[in-house]
């Protein structure tokens, strides 16, 4: 017997009723949030100071511009290049005969203007040797690359291949490099990874790759950005919560420990940034720039790659775009990212076409996985290499009654 959908039906109905009730509550919170933004605009410096001194249990965006500001869409250059990467992987499977994992990176380069062109690449890499299957410290500690840690490693590789590609392009045209998801390595947050892991994946991994884009920008206009569709972040709504908090300095643990409702800040609690900016912004406009206060971003150091972000209103949704500080501080690059992303979404029916195609190049389907493991088994058998399967794996393959 598989999932008994009839049994779940009643639970889905209960969920729908709950969603409806919460949406009714949203309306009031939403109006109050808009009022709060207009109050803040009059005295943002005071709020800035309050944010810096606040000790909250949630992430609060740093304010790099007036919170309610709306930046109009600039014209996209006539000739420019968008390069995007995405990745997929086959994780280590302890039930399989061979201990290995596979990363598949999809790369797409699209050139617009007088000489339109496209290049698609799909780059699979197999990792199987002992030193590839774990992250090792100089003093002999190691962390196996599998599960969530492999997902983080894949993110680093996506960025590395993207930087490789961008460096190979011999052009004087402006370039925008796009990553799917976040520039913030959320996977490293709260997992208590040892320092050598963070050093290798973040400091000597991801940030090193971001450096390459910054260097390239000195040659010709090159920006890197990441795109988050349908974001669930609340960093900006949390700014409003700080504003509403009656305590100064704000200290959640001191004044409100164990409370989850009824606080002054709960008058905007539960709202999402994208809902707020869906109302504030007009088509194509971007929000103010904000900076992330994630604990992992602190590990980015007082670095040019501090993560900044803005929201942009598209035809069908509000997306979050993240850029490193060196892009955020360069008005020309920021306008380029803003206009190129809106342009990409217009060409891609609501989602950046380069990211969409990079995904298509990277994707590893269920059938691909099965074919991959069958091939591994076949090659091992042909080489008379005998490795054992788990019996659990065998029982999944051979169904019996």
């Amino acid at each position: 017997m598989t999932l008994d959908i009839a049994q779940v039906y009643g639970q889905i109905e209960a969920m729908a009723t709950d969603v409806k009730a919460r949406q009714a509550d949203y309306g009031q919170k939403f109006d109050f949030a808009l009022q709060t933004i207009s109050i803040i605009s009059d005295n943002q410096e005071q709020l800035d100071r309050k944010i810096q001194n606040a000790r909250t249990t949630w992430l609060v965006a740093g304010l790099k511009e007036k919170i309610g500001v709306r930046r109009p869409l600039k014209t996209c250059p006539d000739n420019f290049i968008v390069v995007a990467s995405d990745g997929s992987h086959i994780d280590v499977d302890r039930h399989q005969s061979a201990h290995l994992f596979l990363l598949n990176i999809g790369l797409v380069q699209l050139q617009y203007g007088n000489a339109p062109d496209a290049c698609f690449l799909s780059i699979p890499s197999l990792y199987f040797s002992a030193d590839e299957l774990s992250i090792r410290s100089q003093d002999g500690r190691q962390a196996p690359l599998e599960g969530p840690l492999l997902g983080i490693k894949r993110g680093v590789e996506e960025c590395r291949y993207l930087a490789d590609r961008v460096c190979e392009i011999d052009t004087h045209l402006p370039m925008v490099a796009l990553i799917d998801g976040s520039l913030i390595m959320w996977g490293l947050v709260g997992q208590r990874y040892e320092d050598f892991v963070i050093d290798q994946l973040l400091v000597n991994g991801f940030l090193k790759q971001l450096d390459r884009f910054a260097v390239l920008n000195q040659r010709n206009q090159t920006a890197i950005a990441s795109y988050i569709s349908f974001p669930r972040s609340t960093d900006v709504v949390n700014v409003l919560r700080v504003q509403l908090c009656p305590y100064d300095p704000v200290d959640c643990d001191k004044y409100c420990k164990g409370k989850f409702e009824g606080r002054e800040c709960d008058r905007v609690g539960g709202l999402l940034d994208r809902v707020l900016f869906g109302e504030l912004l007009s088509q194509g406009e971007r929000s103010a720039l904000f900076s992330s206060s994630s604990s992992i971003v602190e590990k980015y150091g007082s670095h040019q790659h501090q993560v900044c972000f803005f929201y942009v209103k598209l035809d069908e949704e509000v997306a979050r775009v993240e850029v490193p500080l060196w892009v955020a501080d360069n008005k020309v690059l920021l306008d380029l990212v803003h206009s190129a992303i809106v342009d990409q979404c217009n060409r891609g029916f609501g989602y950046p076409v380069a990211l969409s195609e990079a995904h298509e190049q990277a994707v590893v389907t269920g059938a691909d996985r099965e074919q991959f493991w069958n091939l591994v088994d076949r090659v091992l058998n042909e080489g008379n290499i005998s490795l054992q399967h788990s019996l659990k794996q065998t029982s999944k393959r051979v169904k019996w009654i």
Partner: protein
């Protein structure tokens, strides 16, 4: 064979026909034109009976994009990725092969090789091949997804241009077809009418 002239590559192959993927989108040779490919030292001649342009990924549906475009070319300019996502294929029916200097108008012992390059035949080759018309029975007997009579007529019109007197060639071909289809006047009539076009 001049490598610069290759236009496509065999992606499906059997004794009687092959499918080739064009290197350039929408650049398949015309219906009824003659192409050649290679296998094991012999050149295989075939006549194009169908071409199509479609998405490379059968799971991705092609959608209309040109509502606000000034021309069809504008669609490709605005979406350069399309040239990598679409593919033009053609199917060709094998009508003979050459071994050394001999041109044989029946099926070769082996199909074309997969990934074999496909070249258009020049008019000299077409004229040489159509000195004899024994291959026509391969066309009249073929079971194709479209009317073989259309393909026969298209090929004969095209081949006639390689001869010093296209009219004389068509009369000769018409007589051969009349003999092959002597028991099917309706088909014969249909082909002869198309040859006059």
């Amino acid at each position: 064979m001049d490598l610069k002239q290759k236009i496509a590559e065999v992606v499906e192959t059997s004794n009687a026909e092959f499918t080739a993927q064009c290197y350039e989108l929408d650049e398949a040779p015309a219906l009824g034109s003659m192409v050649k490919t290679k296998n094991k030292g012999c050149e295989i001649y075939a006549i194009l009976y169908s071409s199509s342009t479609h998405g490379m990924d059968p799971n991705r549906r092609i959608i209309a994009r040109g509502q606000n475009a000034g021309s069809e070319a504008d669609i490709y300019r605005a979406n350069p990725q399309l040239s990598k996502l679409l593919s033009t294929d053609f199917k060709a029916l094998i009508v003979g092969y050459s071994q050394g200097k001999a041109v044989l108008q029946f099926l070769p012992p082996s199909p074309a090789s997969i990934y074999a390059f496909v070249y258009p035949c020049d008019m000299n080759e077409v004229r040489e091949f159509t000195q004899s018309l024994n291959f026509l029975s391969l066309l009249t007997d073929a079971r194709l997804p479209l009317s073989p009579d259309e393909v026969i007529a298209a090929f004969l019109r095209y081949a006639s241009l390689s001869h010093p007197s296209p009219h004389d060639f068509l009369v000769k071909a018409g007589k051969e077809i009349a003999w092959l289809l002597s028991n099917d006047i309706r088909r014969l009539d249909s082909i002869l009418k198309r040859l006059q076009g």
